[in-house]
């Protein structure tokens, strides 16, 4: 009988937990901020010159990796503590035509996406990573960071990088060059881009521009803004390449503040196929359901205290009072 009671208790508590962990509607995706700033990367405009890789390094005091004869061409292939921005190449078969999936090639920018509802901010136990309440830029504060690398593991884009060979390591990721704002400058990668493939500006405007481009007919000639979408500066007029019908970052993982356009499907270029629901919201919903206001733990604790009190009396513990006068 008693064993059955015990199992009943266990099943009961499991069922209680199952209902809370099952009801995941409490926190939806965080909404886009009206004042958000970000980048629009249009792969069909990128010529692979990697000027942005070098500019990013210079703007962020990183070591350049350039051959002596070509001091403008940084060789860096992967994100690292010394590279917050890289251009990757997609190649297929005989890479003859740019922006074509088969027998073609394309370029892809890799840097922090400044997620609308970032995993890295949600998981950081000590608020070293924060999302700015106005601009939505995801920033890092090394003085708060404990180096647990939960952000490194949880970022769906594998962006935050950590120095494993340094006794005083830090997390390294793009912070949208917000340190340049006080000098009236903006993201170095967008600033330097000759074609406007990387474009800086308010996300709302970048999104409208992205939609304009995807609605154009392939072959049509249009002007592409350069550097800052609000700067009224244009690159050369150019024929529109056929885009895949998707603005990457509009919905992916709850949306991002770096938007992407491409002629080659995004998954082929190594971008993850994410749920529209942000991982942060799924995880925080469970956490909040169980712990919001610490109500549930307090109730359970009260119950446990009562039961433990009665039961420690029932069968006195290891060294009961009446034993004390040895």
């Amino acid at each position: 009988m008693k064993r059955r009671d015990f199992l009943k208790g266990v099943v009961g508590s499991c069922a209680a937990m199952a209902t809370v962990s099952g009801s995941v509607e409490a926190r939806g995706n965080n909404p886009r901020l009206p004042g958000a700033v970000g980048l629009l990367f249009d792969s069909t405009l990128c010529v692979g010159c990697k000027a942005c890789v070098t500019a990013c390094k210079q703007a962020n005091d990183k070591v350049l990796d350039v051959p002596a004869d070509k001091p403008y061409l940084d060789r860096t292939m992967h994100l690292s503590p010394d590279a917050l921005n890289v251009i990757k190449m997609y190649k297929n078969g005989k890479p003859e035509v740019k922006d074509r999936e088969v027998d073609g090639f394309a370029f892809q920018k890799q840097s922090c996406m400044h997620c609308v509802d970032p995993s890295c901010v949600s998981v950081c136990p000590v608020q070293a990573l924060l999302k700015d309440g106005t601009t939505g830029v995801v920033t890092y504060d090394k003085d708060a960071c404990i180096g647990c690398r939960y952000c490194v593991a949880s970022c769906p884009f594998q962006i935050p990088k950590f120095n494993y060979d340094d006794p005083f390591p830090e997390i390294h990721k793009c912070q949208l060059c917000n340190h340049l704002w006080s000098e009236n400058k903006f993201s170095a990668c967008a600033d330097v881009c000759p074609t406007g493939a990387t474009l800086y500006g308010p996300v709302e405007k970048l999104m409208a521009e992205a939609k304009r481009r995807t609605s154009l007919n392939p072959g049509e000639v249009t002007r592409f803004p350069r550097r800052d979408i609000e700067g009224k500066e244009f690159g050369r007029e150019q024929k529109v390449v056929k885009y895949v019908d998707r603005i990457y970052g509009e919905k992916e993982g709850g949306g991002t503040q770096m938007l992407m356009l491409s002629g080659v499907p995004f998954d082929k270029q190594g971008l993850p196929d994410l749920h529209e629901r942000s991982s942060a919201s799924v995880s925080e919903t469970i956490q909040h359901t169980l712990y919001s206001g610490l109500v549930a733990p307090a109730v359970i604790l009260a119950g446990l205290v009562g039961v433990a009190r009665r039961n420690t009396k029932n069968h006195t513990d290891e060294s009961p009072e009446e034993d004390a006068h040895e």
Binding site: M17, P125, V126, C145, E170, A280, S283, L301, L304, E321
Partner: protein, 387 residues
């Protein structure tokens, strides 16, 4: 007289020397880690930034250290007084498991000198699952030391304080049940945010429930495991009848765990992955087998009264729970094809060293403090103590 007594016996034995040596090696390697960084001794990388130090030392280590939690819940909440003699040794092992898990956190943290931010309100992020785990584990370690304090006080002969503490002990016992329930489940929640990076056979919103259930079951199993080992090592009387009774609880819990695990996979429509998922299907099936072995072994009453079979069942359950954690956090975790991870030799030696230290400290304390249940037959205590 108290019902617990020190085991006594020599300290320097072949076993303690080997354990001490292994611990020494890990200290040496840890010095290198602190001088040259994590990469100097480990294979950690930005894809697999958490390796065996997190998965084995902390996550599996604290699950092994759930004996104290498991016994407290059984004895003080479900009022199973018959298991009382198992409480204190289980608590000692838990206290060490958790304290060392906490220390393992320190050398895994890249910016370890800031570790106190985890418990400083100026920094903490209540949305972060890791914050909750960190804060709970920290509190739980303190609670366990308080729970264990009477044993020290008894040794030192400070009885008045001990009595006072014992009167309030129910408060700490209650906390000592709540806190592990919270963070053992949160260790599962911690993996939810990885989303599609974890294979659907393991990724589920049920992770917190599955983690706490399996941790609790591992806690009960580790009590059987430790009781068997110390019966052998310290040449003590076996507590087979008691352990056999307790094993029925383990069977029940495993069945509940498996029902939720499989039911959830079916509900999410991922059942076919059990066979169509290549290597991961294999890992899943091995895991399932390890969970089922104790169930099958412990079905008959005869098996439950065999010390050897109980031991095998407990070991299988501990392996099952460990593999479940390794699979969820490392094997089924895929950060992209350009990354791979297998622990380096120094990395493994550090883990082995920490475990050795844990066992060593347990042996030493069991010899000098009233931890193990006092034996009824005086004859048994006089025998050779080989540990």
């Amino acid at each position: 007289m108290s019902s617990y007594a020190p085991v006594g016996g020599r300290l320097v034995t072949p076993v303690t020397v080997v354990l001490g040596g292994l611990f020494g090696i890990s200290v040496f390697l840890l010095v290198i880690r602190f001088i040259n960084g994590l990469g100097a001794v480990s294979n950690l990388n930005d894809g697999y930034t958490w390796g065996i130090w997190v998965v084995v030392d902390i996550v599996i280590g604290t699950a092994f250290a759930c004996g104290g939690y498991a016994m407290a819940l059984l004895v003080y909440v479900f009022n199973k007084g018959q298991y009382h003699s198992l409480v204190r040794p289980a608590l000692l092992a838990s206290m060490f498991g958790y304290t060392l898990g906490g220390l393992a956190v320190l050398f895994d943290l890249g910016r370890w000198w800031n570790f106190w931010h985890l418990i400083s309100p100026a920094y903490f992020n209540v949305n972060s699952v890791m914050f909750e785990v960190g804060a709970c584990v920290f509190l739980y370690v303190i609670v366990m030391w308080i729970e264990f304090l009477p044993a020290f006080l008894e040794k030192l002969g400070i009885n008045r304080l001990r009595q006072k503490l014992n009167k309030m002990m129910f408060l700490f016992i209650a906390l000592g049940i709540l806190l592990p329930t919270m963070h053992q489940s949160s260790l599962g929640t911690m993996m939810v945010v990885f989303g599609r990076m974890i294979d659907p056979l393991w990724q589920t919103n049920m992770l917190p429930l599955l983690f706490v259930l399996s941790a609790y079951t591992m806690g009960l199993s580790v009590v059987i495991f430790e009781a068997s080992i110390s019966a052998e090592g310290f040449k003590r009387q076996r507590e087979t009848r008691l352990l056999g009774q307790m094993s029925t609880v383990i069977v029940g819990l495993i069945l509940i765990y498996l029902a939720i695990r499989i039911g959830d996979i079916i509900a999410r429509g991922e059942l076919s992955r059990i066979y169509s998922n290549g290597f991961l299907s294999g890992m899943f099936l091995v895991e399932m087998a390890l969970f089922l072995i104790p169930v099958l072994i412990l079905l008959t009453k005869r098996a439950r009264s065999s010390a050897a079979l109980l031991f095998v069942a407990a070991v299988s359950m501990l392996l099952a729970g460990s593999l479940y954690r390794i699979d969820t956090m490392l094997v089924a975790f895929n950060p992209g094809s350009e990354y791979s991870y297998f622990p380096s030799i120094p990395e493994m030696l550090i883990t082995i060293g920490i475990i050795s230290f844990e066992i060593l400290a347990y042996i030493v304390l069991a010899k000098y403090l009233p931890v193990l249940h006092q034996e009824k037959q005086a004859g048994a205590t006089g025998e050779l103590r080989s540990l």
